[in-house]
Amino acid sequence: MAKLVYKLAMAAVLLAAIVWVANPLYTHYFFKNDVLEAKGKLLFDLDSLQYTNEVLYFGESSDLTIAETDTCQWSISQMIDKLSPKNVGRVSTHAIHGATYVKLIQNIKPDSKVKTIIVTLNLRSFGADWIHSRLETPLMKTNVLYEPMPPILRRLQVVFNGYDNTQTDIREERRMQHWQHDKINVPDTFPYKNVNDWDMAAGKDNIYNYVLPNGARNDPKIELACHYIKTYAFSIDVDKNPRIADFDKIVALAKTKKLNVVFNLLAENLEYADSLVGPVLVNLMRQNRDLLVKRYTQPGVIVVDNLETVTNGLDFTDQNWTTEHYNQTGRWLVARNVVSKADVWLK
């Protein structure tokens, strides 16, 4: 046994030496490539922007999508930058959510110029459809590369699967379980008490009666209605929802780093939600909005409620899907509202 302990200790020392030697090599030659390969460019954006901007905007595709017809090519964060006298830096990429923002904010250094962070609060990201999305595993991996620790250790954590790398089919199964079992706060008289039943009724039974002029089922419209149900029909459970935990961490982190937080609760297409599915769904969206606004409105945090800011459904660039992508009219509405509601830190 003593021999084994001695040899294991030797092995541990050898391993530590290897890691120590490998760290500068890895950092210099491979790290950047690994981060870029894992779509983690934001880390380098943040490194440069935090020393030149007083405000950083953390967002997802809502801050990257421009409509083909737009004459103004500015994103929401760029519009805020134009509206605010302060420099606003953009730290945005597609399909990220609260968990990524936490990791990125951890990388804001004490000597940075940043005083205020604007973080998109995307209502959809609180639903099972997104929480158990197939994009989650690669996102979790990228998040490891954002961990504030020596690059070689981040790499080791990635290659030794030190993140939630659940298989896609198991994620889909979990999503189905949520749709089947999660209760939603709908009126007692409403016949469907979970997403699954509601979705089946809308899809299979065509309860909204979407038909073409020739009397056949209007499948594209039915599919869109079902998608609205699956995306927005949920009631946030503050004890179990992982996004709540993420945004709680953001608030706590901001406090320790002495940063002001602006949560930009993004606009959703309530007009279409109402016309396709009806007021019960819209009411659920409003309930969740109210919960988030109430939970995060506190000293040091401003929640800008943009849920119903973009009232015209045609100002959403994706007419056949649920996204927070707006044309220039929608983006200006959101940006103006952010600057106006958070003027204390942005003006």
Partner: protein, 468 residues
């Protein structure tokens, strides 16, 4: 739980400490709990399937042993039906439905039988085959039925090999689980050597080849001929390194507990013929099919035509065992065809030429190329994709725009792996390493660890054989 995970790197030492601390009579409980936990990390509900297999086959074996005549066979059939039934549902249900729909539609009828969203339990084919071998052995009276369900459960669940083999027999693994394993430095040292080497093979070799292979199969028909061959060779290396790496870690983890498992690979790409290839590749499955399908069908002690049918059956079933897709069946049958060609060539005077040193080299190269081409059916998503890849490999489709170019960092670990395999030829890594003085050993450990730290593939590729 993945072997190449932080989770496992904490789990294994913890289990080992408890294993050697606990009195022998309680170790089965530890192994049962540890193995159940190991599996539940993938998807907890499917542990119930494993428990079902355990209860059925334990009861069946006891029943077979305690009865005579017709009932023995009836109980065996129940065991086979339960195991094969699980496989049929979880693995082949959608394949059967799709095939039925296609056949009925092809015959002019209308069929739209619904598919099901089924999550395939990881390693189901391995558990069922391992467990089935036990009831068959008891039926043949070559194995006594286990009295203690805990030990039998550990035979099915034994975490180092439960997910992707080697497919062990009860006479070997079951017996070793009963023996009181005492702490031995050599066992731990050898086990850890194997784990280190296995991690290197999986993480540095297989996972660095995977992106090259993905490039080929995500652009079928658009890759140049030379690049196609690079991709095909990359897959030959990937599939071998992936599975060999897994088996090596499994054997190493078992060895740490004093359990010796069979070798699953003996440098198959050094084989000089297809028959020899199958004596070196996935040995535990090949011997399973030999013992429980080929020999009961009459083996080679039958007329040539019947023997050929037996071979076709074995390779066809082996293909189907791997996956519910026609591509796997074609893969198996292509191997059978090569097997026949080799058999008949060996009956001609050419055999003298083949047995010369140059002939052996040529034959070895031919075997590697043939196996590499046949892997196309193993890797392709469907037959049309396989056809496109074959056409680009043979230059039938004009040179595509996509170029596959490995980086130096991808090739270095492969070169090191080949070098190691040439140096240790005929031995296992731990035996080779153990035969050298400490400085040489430690330099080789350092080299492997350095490669894992710096050159392991950044993308996560699950072990390929998990899907079977």
């Amino acid at each position: 739980m993945l072997f190449n995970s932080l989770h496992f790197l904490i789990f294994l030492p913890l289990v080992l400490v408890l294993y050697y601390t606990l009195p022998h009579r309680y170790r089965w409980v530890l192994l049962f709990v540890a193995s159940s936990y190991f599996y539940s990390v993938f998807y907890p509900p499917y542990l119930l399937i494993l428990y079902f297999i355990i209860v059925i086959d334990y009861t069946a074996a006891r029943g077979i042993e305690n009865t005579e005549g017709y009932w023995r066979k009836a109980i065996l059939l129940v065991s086979i039906a339960a195991n094969v039934g699980l496989l049929a549902y979880f693995k082949y249900y959608n394949f059967f439905i799709l095939s039925s729909n296609n056949i009925i539609t092809g015959l002019g009828g209308q069929s739209n039988l619904p598919l099901r969203q089924i999550i395939l339990p990881i390693g189901l084919s391995f558990h069922t085959f391992q467990s089935l071998s036990y009831t068959i052995e008891v039926y043949w009276k070559r194995q006594k039925a286990e009295r203690h369900i805990g030990y039998f459960a550990n035979y099915v669940l034994f975490f180092p090999q439960m997910v992707a083999g080697p497919i062990e027999r009860y006479a070997s693994l079951g017996a070793q689980l009963h023996i009181k394993q005492v702490f031995s430095y050599d066992n731990i040292a050898n086990g850890l050597r194997l784990i280190l080497y296995g991690l290197f093979i999986k993480m540095c070799v297989a996972d660095n080849m995977a992106p090259l292979v993905d490039q080929l199969y995500s652009n079928p028909g658009k890759v140049g001929t030379l690049s196609t061959w690079l991709g095909l060779i990359a897959f030959s290396i990937q599939i071998y390194a992936d599975f060999y790496g897994y088996s090596t870690i499994a054997i190493g983890a078992g060895r740490c507990m004093g359990i010796k498992m069979m070798d699953n690979f003996k440098q198959p790409y050094f084989a000089t013929g297809i028959q020899e290839f199958w004596q070196r590749w996935h040995i535990s499955l090949s011997t399973w099919f030999r013992d429980y399908v080929y020999i009961p069908l009459g083996g080679s002690r039958v007329k040539t035509a019947r023997w050929m049918l037996n071979i076709l059956a074995v390779f066809g079933l082996s293909g189907l065992w791997h996956g519910a897709n026609y591509t796997f069946i074609i893969w198996g049958l292509a191997h059978a065809t090569l097997y026949f060609i080799e058999y008949f060539v060996y009956k001609t005077p050419l055999v003298k030429l083949i047995k010369t040193p140059v002939g052996q080299w040529v034959s070895g190269a031919f075997t590697f190329i043939a196996v590499t081409l046949i892997w196309i059916f193993f890797r392709a998503a469907d037959i049309s994709q396989a056809k496109l890849v074959i056409k680009t490999a043979l230059g039938i489709i004009p040179n595509g725009a996509v170029i596959i170019m490995p980086t130096l960092w991808q090739l270095l670990p492969v070169a090191l792996f080949i070098l190691f395999e040439i140096i240790i030829r005929g031995k296992r890594f731990e035996i080779w390493a153990g035969s050298y003085a400490a400085p040489v050993r430690w330099v080789s450990y350092a080299l492997l660890a350095f490669c894992i730290v710096l050159f392991s593939g950044i993308q996560s590729y699950p072990f390929i054989y998990f899907q079977f």
